[in-house]
């Protein structure tokens, strides 16, 4: 039982990270029916910018925790700006031209450019991110958890709640929701939908950048960290459903926990298989995802 709980706990923290990144996919898909395929790179850039900021602040003789907390707003702003740039360079033209695939190519290309940029600025080695919390793990009835793993789960929930609250209660958020429901109708009601789409991209990359600085102290950071996480999160978004914020979180947890459980009870060599099987099953049984609303295509 203790082992089972230990596996669940590790799966939860990994799954929460997948969930936050997938949450970003869901944000832009809602408003514009497009995805940022460079989401993993947004995460990577966020964590590297965070690393530089934290190291600079520690250099100013601040404590690691203070430096980390001061760094968060900077990374959030950077992430939002980076998302806006992606939308402006990659997505807007494709939407205007009503191109079906233009944004796919453009966001992938931008992702590659960001990765090369990061390789030139930060090099290609994996780098250690100073941990703001003690690294010694806590024991809860024999189940051991690193403080940072708890911070990941809490941080992820806080961020997603904040974005949801923003969407439900602020006037800008309502514009986002309206655009998600029906872009044309929202446009006719006087909502500047193209600005709303820019906003949703900013929010999306912001959550990715935040996920980056959350996960970096537990793993390592580096120019190539985005590729694997971005892809896993994509699978999560499909499993949970691209139109549901709750769905991607549940999808993330399902994938994270299946991975660790399979690794232990079946074989570590087959760790990634059940997640992919689940993906195929969901696609064939409920193509909109576990929590997704089936899209009715009117012709």
């Amino acid at each position: 039982m203790q082992i089972f709980m230990q596996l669940i706990v590790s799966g939860l923290s990994v799954g929460m990270i997948y969930g936050v990144i997938a949450f970003g996919y869901q944000l832009t898909f809602g408003t514009s029916r497009t995805l940022n395929f460079g989401q993993g790179e947004a995460l990577m850039l966020g964590s590297l910018v965070g690393l530089t900021t934290v190291n600079f602040l520690i250099g100013q003789s601040l404590g690691t925790l203070t430096a980390y907390l001061l760094m968060l707003p900077i990374v959030l702003v950077f992430g939002a700006a980076q998302g806006a740039v992606v939308e402006w360079l990659g997505v807007r033209q494709a939407l205007r031209a009503k191109s079906d695939a233009g944004w796919i190519m453009a966001t992938i290309a931008l992702g590659i450019i960001f990765k090369n940029l990061a390789e030139n600025v930060w090099g290609r080695d994996a780098l250690k991110f100073p941990s703001p919390l003690p690294e010694a793990s806590l024991s809860f009835g024999g189940v051991r958890i690193q403080p940072m793993e708890i911070a990941i789960v809490i941080g992820a929930i806080v961020l997603m709640t904040a974005v949801e609250v923003f969407n439900r209660f602020s006037i800008y958020g309502k514009a986002v929701v309206a655009t998600s429901n029906d872009r044309d109708a929202a446009g006719l009601m006087g909502i500047n939908t193209s600005r709303v789409i820019t906003l949703s991209y900013a929010l999306s990359s912001m959550s990715a950048a935040f996920a980056g600085v959350l996960v970096a102290p537990v793993t390592l950071t580096g120019a190539s960290m985005g590729a694997v996480l971005g892809l896993k999160a994509f699978a999560v978004a499909i499993i949970g459903g691209l139109s549901s914020g709750l769905g991607v979180v549940v999808g993330g947890l399902i994938l994270g926990i299946t991975e660790t459980l399979t690794g232990y009870y079946l074989s570590t060599g087959y760790k990634d298989v059940p997640g992919l099987v689940l993906l195929l099953v969901v696609l064939s049984v409920k193509p909109a995802g576990l929590f997704g609303k089936a899209a009715i295509k009117k012709v």
């Binding site: 082992i3 230990q6 596996l7 590790s10 923290s13 990994v14 390789e119 090099g123 290609r124 080695d125 994996a126 250690k128 690294e135 010694a136 793990s137 024991s139 051991r144 690193q146 996960v215 537990v218 793993t219 390592l220 580096g222 190539s224 960290m225 590729a227 694997v228 991975e259 660790t260 459980l261 399979t262 690794g263 232990y264 074989s267 570590t268 060599g269 760790k271 990634d272």
Partner: protein, 399 residues
């Protein structure tokens, strides 16, 4: 016009003999950026140190050595491009380098075809020097002065089971060629000692959570973890053990000496053991001179990868000795000279006395490497008595 052309041709023909004083070009291929760059850069710096010493002493055959450096980024396809460029465009007489077994295997066939020797100074895959041995090949142009995986896995098994007395080893290897071939070598080596690993676990490069692998090893009752992987994931293993509050020793391939393991695992990595052909300790006058020259030339205290630096340095001296003996830069003659080197070369790793023969292209034998131990961010000898007195210089036994 025609007269002019004839004249220029004549001028060219006259100019040709002057080429004799031109530099001898040697290729250098390795990853200077990316995950294995600490090894690549140390190897390159060792090579450059040897070249500058040789050139300062008058060069080889009265000609200076000129290095043509290329960054293969540990990518097979880039290694292939570089091999073709070095052979066809730069006309190198030999190439040294290769950190990654995959890059070596993909690239060296072009040298084999062009009959130009390759000196592998870091790549450890057992198959590297055997790719073109025997069969239809008239001669093998691939040499090595690094401890191959067969040697390393035998050493790891002997150290863990015989010397340290562990009974229940668990193998943790990554899913790359390096990890999986190493895992097979390790399992075989353990079998020879009558031991079956209690768990054999696998992970992908880039994996961030090792809980499942480590719990399986722990539940199987493992008393030692044997590793075949590279720096970042090895650090995840060490950190994962600390997280689970479970500490058993780590013994593994020489990659446990990578800076990316030592620096990212921090205190959790202390005590990890791995075979090393060279440890940054001045146990012989030659080693002392090498360490001091390296520190002075590159203005650092800790060599990022001492093994790579020492082997890189030695590879140039081996090659230079062969070119001197051949009195020629023709690839075939250099190969023949390497296979019958008749001068003793005092290197950093060992003293090379007839290191190669027509059938044996491995300069490093089982008895040469010793075990290193991670301690306080550095690699130190695990058993200092292995390097005392006469034992400091370990030489390949005569065939």
């Amino acid at each position: 016009m025609r007269l002019f052309r004839l004249l220029s041709l004549a001028a060219l023909a006259l100019a040709t003999p002057a080429l004799a004083a031109d530099p001898i070009k040697i290729g250098l291929s390795g990853p200077f950026t990316g995950g294995s760059s600490s090894m690549g850069v140390s190897m390159r710096d060792g090579v450059k140190l040897a070249v500058s010493e040789i050139n300062a002493a008058g060069g080889v055959l009265g000609r200076p050595i000129e290095l043509v450096e290329r960054d293969d980024e540990a990518k097979n396809e880039l290694g292939v491009q570089i091999a073709q460029e070095l052979i066809n465009k730069e006309s190198v007489v030999a190439t040294v380098g290769y950190i990654n077994t995959g890059v070596a295997l993909a690239s060296q066939r072009f040298y084999q075809e062009a009959e130009i020797p390759v000196m592998n100074n870091v790549a450890t895959g057992s198959i590297v020097t055997k790719q073109f041995a025997g069969g239809d090949n008239k001669a093998n142009y691939i040499f090595r002065n690094a401890a191959n995986d067969a040697i390393q896995s035998r050493m790891i098994a002997e150290e863990a089971i015989k010397r340290q007395g562990f009974k229940k080893p668990a193998i943790l290897a990554d899913a790359t060629n390096y990890g999986q071939l190493g895992k097979t070598d390790l399992t075989n080596a353990l079998q020879k000692l009558g031991v079956t690993p209690v768990a054999t676990e696998k992970f992908n490069t880039g994996d961030t959570d090792m809980t499942a692998q480590l719990l399986r090893a722990k539940e199987a009752g493992a008393d030692v973890i044997l590793t075949y992987a590279i720096g970042p994931e090895l650090a995840q293993i060490a950190n994962g053990m600390a997280k689970l509050g479970w500490k058993v020793p780590m013994v593994g391939s020489w990659t446990l000496s990578m800076a990316s393991f030592i620096d990212t695992a921090g205190a959790n990595g202390d005590g990890a053991m791995m075979p090393q052909t060279f440890i940054q300790v001045p146990t012989t006058p030659k080693r002392k001179a090498f360490i001091e020259a390296y520190q002075k030339a590159y203005k650092i205290d800790r060599i990022p990868s001492p093994v790579s630096a020492a082997q890189g340095y030695d590879s140039i001296y081996l090659l230079a000795a062969a070119i001197s003996q051949a009195k020629d830069t023709d690839g075939r003659k250099i190969r023949e000279a390497l296979e019958s080197l008749n001068t003793k070369i005092e290197g950093v790793v060992t003293t090379y006395d007839h290191p190669y023969s027509a059938t044996d292209h491995e300069a490093i034998s089982d008895n040469i490497p010793v075990f290193g131990l991670v301690k306080g961010g550095r690699v130190v000898p695990a058993h200092p008595e292995d390097l005392e007195g006469d034992k400091a210089m370990r030489v390949k036994p005569k065939a």
